[in-house]
């Protein structure tokens, strides 16, 4: 296995059992290189989001084998996977999902405080640096609930970056944003992938967004086209 393989999926098969048995992912195998900006596209129901959640380690109910950075993740316990996600994977979702009772800074710092590898001061400095990267440093002490959608999404990205994860996963990260904010998020992702070597895997139905990424995996009915 080469060092520059960030993620490897081997014969991934997944069934849904509700409302009736249905094979969603039909024997998918592919690799993602380190520093690659990958988009998953396809129609609704093609299985692209399902695949992302399998790759994210949150969904463990599949057949096949998944490894990230050479670590085999299939078969690990949920708590082991949670610890792995904490350190190696950053998430950006369509509906931001900030903790609305906390301020922006606390939201960003939480995964790092959980990881507990740096002092609070270092984490705070890192959070400010991330906010600055996203042009949000002035909002640091605002409550998360007071931000606009585009601002919330940028905070979510800043949070995803706090532990310097090797992979950043996005489920429709721009699905809820206007074109201006979409462009901002895209530029950030591109910068992260190309300048920092962080791997990006994003599900999107925005063709322009996908077209400008490094590689597109298009899915249809559970197979890669």
């Amino acid at each position: 296995m080469e060092n520059n393989i960030a993620l490897k999926a081997n014969h991934i098969i997944k069934h849904f059992y509700q409302p009736e048995p249905f094979k969603v992912l039909k024997d998918l195998s592919f690799e993602v290189k380190t520093g690659e900006f990958l988009t998953l596209t396809g129609k609704s129901g093609s299985g692209k989001s399902t695949l992302l959640y399998v790759l994210s380690t949150m969904d463990t109910d599949y057949e096949g084998e998944l490894s990230i950075n050479g670590n085999k993740l299939t078969g690990q316990t949920r708590n082991q996977l949670a610890a792995f996600r904490n350190e190696h994977i950053g998430f950006v979702f369509q509906f931001h999902y900030l903790l609305l009772e906390f301020n922006v800074l606390d939201n960003i710092m939480l995964p790092a405080l959980k990881l507990n590898k740096k002092s609070r001061e270092e984490i705070e400095a890192k959070a400010y640096a991330n906010l600055k990267l996203l042009g949000m440093e002035e909002q640091a002490l605002k409550m998360a609930s007071k931000l606009s959608g585009g601002q919330q999404q940028r905070v979510a990205i800043a949070r995803a970056l706090i532990n310097d994860p090797s992979i950043i996963m996005g489920d429709e990260p721009t699905g809820n944003l206007d074109s201006k904010n979409t462009q901002i998020v895209f530029d950030i992702f591109k910068e992260l992938a190309h300048e920092r070597g962080q791997t990006i895997i994003a599900v999107t139905h925005d063709d322009d967004f996908a077209k400008n990424s490094d590689r597109i995996i298009e899915m249809s009915d559970g197979i890669i086209l």
Binding site: Y53, A82, Y97
Partner: protein, 414 residues
């Protein structure tokens, strides 16, 4: 630091929905304060009843129970092999009262638990005032020791208890007895014994214990005068009354002295089982009611925690996506329950004390009481706190467990 992150999240949850926190808190406060109040009230009632009962009742009584029934001597000697009949058999009691009292008193005094012992000469008599007569109990007492055991001097209405010591012709009688016989202090009263001895005494005082059966029938006399009345020797005693440190723990003392004393040794529990039963029943009722209240409070907490978790289900999913383990989620919500439990417990203890104080000041003039009875036992407060904490722990643990089992994929994908 990992834990402190969980604490911080728990703290934010508690403080951001203050209303819910306060409602949950009120449930615990109410449960615990009611538990404390009820138990204080019941133990106050029990204490009052005990005090009332022990105005004339000692913890242990030693007396001559009379000989065993040996009327059928033939059967005793030959068993059932012989048919015989003794007409009109009688058992003659050779000894009346307790012999060798000095030695027995010394022996009982040596027991470490014993706080006091007093000899009595109890006589069933008729109290007479011209035409009126009442069957009652005349108690010849050792004036000082009697007061040590039963604290009679505090129940005196007229006259002084100690006067009895210097007045062999004096009686101190119950207020109701005095009333029925239309007698007052310094009046004469006639006493008639079962042996037909009649003697006049002077009333030198009256007492009121608030136990009606005592106030209506009892009179006190100096023990020497009582012996004189019966023409008995100066060592004659019918009863020895013994008090010990803890009135509940009569059994070990009884077990130790009974084998070496040739008379009946009887604890108050044996002779007054109804008292013991009543206080046990009151205790059971108060514990049942207060535990019910605590359980209801527990359901309140359970409900509120469940609501909170349903509200925050997306946050829980996102925390799990970010790498918080099931244990972290449990600890976040359990911490909230524990904080509510401890805070509610502390406030509940204070509230319970205040309620007890208020109730304790409500006038209640009956059986010698002025206010509703209340006792303040540290153990009631500690138990209430512990029970409250256990209830909140259980009520918080179940929803916390549910939260920890949330599958983030289900929630985030919708």
């Amino acid at each position: 630091m990992r834990l402190s992150t969980n604490y911080k999240i728990a703290y934010v949850h508690l403080t951001s929905s203050v209303k819910q926190t306060i409602v949950a808190l009120m449930g615990v406060v109410f449960g615990i304060s009611m538990y404390i109040f009820l138990n204080s009230f019941v133990s106050g009632t029990n204490d009052t009843q005990t005090t009332l009962a022990f105005t004339s009742l000692a913890h242990i009584r030693i007396y001559n129970d009379g000989p065993a029934d040996h009327t059928n001597l033939l059967k005793l000697a030959y068993g059932n092999q012989i048919a015989g009949n003794i007409r009109n058999p009688k058992v003659i009691q050779y000894t009346q009262g307790i012999k060798n009292t000095g030695a027995i008193i010394d022996l009982v005094r040596k027991q470490p638990e014993v706080t006091g012992i007093t000899p009595q000469v109890n006589i069933n008599v008729f109290f007479r005032n011209s035409g009126n007569k009442i069957n009652g109990n005349l108690s010849g007492v050792d004036v000082n020791n009697e007061n040590k055991l039963f604290n009679i001097s505090s129940y005196m209405v007229q006259g002084k208890w100690n006067d009895l010591q210097y007045r062999p012709d004096g009686l101190i009688i119950g207020t109701d007895l005095a009333h029925t016989l239309s007698l007052h202090v310094d009046d004469n009263i006639n006493v008639l014994t079962s042996d037909g001895v009649s003697k006049n005494y002077k009333i030198i005082g009256t007492f009121q214990t608030n136990v009606k059966s005592v106030d209506k029938t009892k009179a006190y006399l100096n023990i020497t005068a009582a012996r004189q009345l019966l023409s008995e020797n100066q060592d004659y005693v019918t009863d020895l009354q013994v008090n010990i440190q803890n009135y509940q723990k009569t059994a070990p003392v009884e077990a130790r002295i009974a084998p070496v004393i040739p008379y009946k040794v009887e604890s108050w529990q044996e002779s007054n089982q109804q008292l013991q039963a009543a206080s046990s029943l009151r205790n059971i009722i108060s514990i049942a009611v207060s535990l019910t209240i605590l359980t209801v409070a527990g359901f309140g907490i359970y409900n509120i925690m469940n609501m909170t978790i349903n509200e925050k289900i997306k946050e829980i999913a996102i925390l799990k996506a970010m790498g918080f383990s099931s244990g972290d989620i449990t600890s976040i919500f359990l911490t909230q329950a524990i904080v509510i439990g401890i805070l509610g417990g502390l406030i509940g203890m204070i509230t319970g004390f205040i309620i007890a104080q208020i109730i304790n000041h409500i006038p209640f003039k009956m059986a010698g009481m002025n206010h509703l009875p209340m006792s303040y036992n540290l153990s009631d407060y500690l138990l209430a706190f512990i029970f409250g904490l256990i209830t909140t722990l259980i009520a918080g643990y179940l929803p916390a467990l549910k939260a920890s089992k949330i599958d983030p994929v289900d929630i985030i994908r919708g």
